[in-house]
Amino acid sequence: MLLELSEIFKWVTTGGNRTYLLKGINIEVQEGEFISLMGPSGSGKSTLLNVIGMLDHFDEGVYHFLDEPVQNLKEKHRIELYKKYIGFVFQSYHLMDDLTVYENIEMPLLYQKYSSSERKALVADMLDRFNIVGKKNLFPTQLSGGQQQLVGIARALISKPKLILADEPTGNLNSKQSEEIMQLFKKLNEEDGVTIIQATHSEANASYGSRTIHLLDGRMVKG
């Protein structure tokens, strides 16, 4: 099992009032699954993804990632864990504007122990795989949205994560670009065995997954 969430609660307190963002989430994810998180805007998809990705803390419940109890981990250890096993893909890509495509993709490797020749090889491989070799010296602002998201995915994949967390990865793209990205995810999932959890509004995108989890007001509901 890759990860398991049980009875996860998350809330924020404003002016003495607790607002629940996540209410009793229970999810088990096996390696190799492709899961879609669906729900209307504000239902807690992003919050859940951030909790899974260890970017955000939760207030109650138990979360095991590869049998490690996440709530008990020190920050350093947690960073190690997600650096090694998790890649993020964002709706608005979050690429570094002053770095080139090549440098953006290379970035995660700089924080891990790779020699420069290893890094070169890995980046070249990625550029090749996503057909963006010709664009490697361009800056993000010189690319279309779809191309930027490709770079975002390439950056997420470069450190060979077990799990990709994608928060509305196609939210800023047109339908043709969306489909390409989804195809890419499917291929990654099927051929490379990467586990994917994506948040999405769209039924069409959700259908690429093997399982769909519905969220409403921070609670899991039946689809």
Partner: protein, 799 residues
């Protein structure tokens, strides 16, 4: 419109409190410092300049050959004033003046019946009151001081001596002071001399009385005693007058005495009287500055402080721009012209500076007493029109300069781009900001290095082994009856248990040594003009001051006559090149003197001077009494000495000074500079750090997204802190690289005023550099650590 702009301004303050306070602190301390420095400079410039005829009052100066050097002095021959007045048509009035400090004891004793006071007497000619505009409140300005035996009293002394009556004219007073002692008749009262005059006196005497009393000295053209002041005719050409008087004294001397010793006679020139206070230092006959240097120094520091505060304002305003883009964009889209935006931003900076001015004024009012204490002034914040206008002027100019760059910068953006959130930051602009930070820190560093080393030097000066022990030694001047009978005074106080030793001394150890070239010895080069300092001392003098005797012995009544003996210091023996000096004979002013001792060099002048060759001769009953007091018994012993003093001088207050205080006061000017520059350097540095702190905040803010991304990609907090701080630290390093060498140059220049200095050690510079670096690190680190440890999700949350 103004209301709208004000509204935006205050909302901005609310939103950016930290920036507001950084600016407020920076600008208000900057302004407060400038106001203080301005008040001080203004006060300095007014010294002696308040006389009605100020622009025409000159002092006659004399360039005297001394050895290979020229010594510039204020003393002149005693008949110079009247002689110049009758010979030189441009000179309308002239007066010789004997100032109180011409006497061995600056104060004489004035008494009426049984009331005694110490007072400063000044001897002037009748033109004196036409040259200087001292206000005469009783008596007729034109007839006072016509008789040799008349005096004018200051208002304060008139009241003290004659408390019961205002009818003072015609009363008689007694005066005791060396050659001027006698009975005098009061024929006028003048208003007390104000603080901004360097001439300070309580009684004015007729110069004729002292001229007659010292006729053989004063009436010779070979001797110089009184000062000479002249009032030039309207429209006189100072160059021509200078040319006429240059050789005046030499010609007079030559016509009477021929060319013998003519080479000892000096040349004359005029210096404007009110300039003398600021331009008081001459080196080898050339004016080389003086107090004016401190005026320059502090004016520059004032400008620096304002520049640093302005830089903060500019940097923070432009950095803040990123957060105000929307406002600017929207305004432009709805049709605001660039001009109106420029106006808005200038307006904002003017409001800011006005706020700061208010705070600055409060600050000045609060610290003015302390400032006066440090500078030894009595400045009050009297808001004359001139002062108000100048302060307002400085404030407006500062506000305008600080505001113009942000205004031009902010109003430049094209609206569509900035509404999309894109700020075209040119390379030039980032460089401008970096450059400004570098300037700030270079200035701060220069100030810090200087302050640090000045402090070391002052410490060194205060604690240096001077070759004599100044602890617990007091000096009492032989005034009143002591002047005649100080031998019995000394022998009486020696019976007091707390008095370890007592002796008399003709000089002091803070620069008042006599000097002479009249020493001859076997083997002296006949053309050499070697100057010897001359100290006249009594028995027990060396023992009291614990000066080390290297060879021979000191003066003593056990070996017969002391008057034909002499003692030298090491420096004198070295320059004379005498081997085995003890027992050898030298000629002093033509008389034989046998060398009985050689003492180790000790500092009888300030550390600004190298220890000169010095001879010590024995005299009895000299004018200053030195007493060494047993430590721990100071109060008791002093009151006992005071009681003895009262027996000799009934009615007079017992005054004494510790010679250590005397020594310390040699460095008053330096200590003042040290204290003031310490404060100003701290202000400069703190304000710079605040600026850096604010700038770091904005940079971090701008990089929020980047930091977030880096963190989600697994970069640790530490690495991010290093990355963010690195950029700022580079600037600080550059500033250090620029500031240290400049600081070094400035400080070596300052140290060159001293003949004895600390060794400049690399560590001083390293410490200063490190301090700057460390505090800058803290300022930046505070922001970056904060930013780097934030949850990246907050930065990356999708809209």
């Amino acid at each position: 419109m103004i209301k709208h702009n004000l509204l935006l301004f205050f909302r901005n303050i609310k939103k950016y409190k930290v920036t507001f306070f950084i600016n407020l602190i920076g600008l208000s301390t900057g302004l407060a410092s400038v106001i203080l420095i301005y008040l001080w400079v203004n006060d300095e410039l007014k010294i002696n300049a308040f006389h009605e005829n100020d622009s025409h009052i000159y002092q006659v100066m004399q360039n005297l050959p001394e050895g290979d050097d020229i010594d510039t002095i204020i003393e002149t021959p005693g008949l110079l004033a009247r002689s110049l007045k009758s010979d030189i048509p441009e000179i309308k009035y002239a007066s010789n003046v004997i100032a109180p400090n011409w006497f061995e004891n600056e104060k004489g004793i004035i008494s009426h019946e049984d009331t005694y006071f110490k007072a400063r007497g000044q001897f002037v000619e009748k033109d004196y009151l036409k040259i200087f505009s001292w206000e005469i409140i009783q008596g007729d300005k034109n007839t006072v001081l016509t008789d040799k035996n008349t005096v004018l009293l200051s208002e304060a002394f008139a009241k003290k001596l004659f408390p019961d009556t205002t009818d003072i004219i015609g009363k008689t007073i007694d005066w005791v002071q060396e050659s001027s002692s006698g009975k005098y008749v009061v024929n006028g009262v003048f208003k007390d001399v104000s603080n901004n005059s360097t001439a300070q006196f309580d009684v004015l005497f007729n110069y004729e009385s002292i001229l007659e009393a010292n006729a053989s000295n004063f009436k010779k053209w070979s001797n110089s005693n009184p000062e000479t002041f002249v009032l030039l005719q309207e429209g006189s050409n100072i160059k021509q007058v200078n040319a006429k008087i240059k050789n005046y004294r030499r010609e007079k001397y030559q016509s009477l005495r021929g060319t013998k010793y003519l080479h000892y006679i000096g040349t004359l020139f005029l210096q404007k009287y009110s300039d003398r206070y600021l331009y008081n230092v001459y080196e080898n006959g050339v004016q080389t500055g003086g107090r004016i240097e401190y005026i320059f120094l502090f004016s520059i520091i004032a400008i620096f402080l304002l520049v640093i505060a302005c830089i903060n304002f500019m940097n923070l305003s432009t950095a803040k721009a990123t957060t105000r883009l929307k406002e600017i964009g929207v305004k432009k889209v709805i049709g605001a012209h660039r001009k109106s935006l420029i106006k808005q931003f200038l307006f904002e900076s003017l409001i800011m500076i006005s706020f700061s001015l208010c705070v600055a004024f409060l600050t000045v009012i609060l610290i003015l007493p302390e400032f006066n204490h440090i500078t030894g002034k009595s400045i009050s914040l009297s808001l004359s029109l001139e002062v108000v206008l100048i302060i307002l002027g400085i404030t407006l100019v500062t506000g305008f300069i600080a505001g113009s760059y942000p205004a031009l910068y902010l109003s430049r953006f094209r609206p569509i781009r900035i509404l999309k959130g894109k700020l075209d930051t040119s390379i030039g602009e980032t460089w401008a900001r970096k450059g400004l930070v570098i300037i700030q820190f270079s200035i701060s560093l220069i100030l810090i290095v200087s302050v640090f080393i000045i402090h070391q030097q002052i410490n060194f000066v205060q604690n240096k082994n001077l070759g004599y022990n100044k602890d617990n030694v007091i000096a009492i001047s032989s005034e009143g009856n002591l002047y005649e009978s100080n031998a019995s005074f000394i022998s009486e106080i020696k019976n007091i248990p707390g008095v370890l030793k007592a002796t008399s001394f003709g000089h002091d150890l803070v620069g008042d040594a006599g000097g002479t070239g009249g020493v001859n010895w076997e083997g002296k080069d006949p053309n050499a003009n070697i100057q010897f300092s001359n100290l006249e001392i009594d028995f027990d003098w060396f023992e009291l001051l614990e000066i080390e005797v290297l060879q021979g012995r000191v003066f003593s009544d056990e070996y017969g006559n002391n008057e034909d003996k002499i003692i030298f210091n090491e420096a004198a023996i070295a320059i004379m090149g005498l081997k085995e000096p003890i027992g050898k004979t030298v000629k002093v002013w033509g008389k034989d003197r046998q060398i009985i001792g050689v003492v180790k060099d000790f500092h009888f002048e300030s550390l600004h001077e190298r220890v000169k060759p010095c001879m010590m001769q024995y005299y009895a009953d000299l004018s200053n009494v030195l007493v060494k007091i047993k430590s721990g018994t100071e109060n008791k012993t002093l009151s006992k000495i005071g009681a003895v003093y009262k027996e000799f001088n009934p009615g007079l207050t017992f005054e004494y000074k510790f010679i250590d205080d005397d020594y310390q006061s040699l460095y008053t000017a330096e200590k003042r500079v040290a204290t003031l520059s310490k404060y100003f350097a701290s202000i400069a540095f703190i304000v710079s750090c605040l600026g850096l702190f604010g700038l770091a905040a904005f940079t971090v803010e701008k990089k929020r997204k980047e930091i977030g991304i880096r963190k989600t990609l697994g970069q640790g907090t530490q690495q991010i802190v290093m990355l963010l701080s690195g950029e700022f630290m580079k600037l600080v390093f550059t500033a250090i690289a620029i500031g240290l060498p400049i600081g070094y140059l400035i400080i070596t220049n300052w140290l060159s005023r001293f003949e004895y200095t600390i060794d400049l050690q690399i560590s001083y510079f390293l410490i200063a550099g490190f301090t700057v670096l460390a505090l800058a690190c803290i300022a930046v680190g505070f922001q970056t650590v904060n930013a780097a440890s934030r949850n990246p999700i907050d930065a990356l949350r999708e809209e």
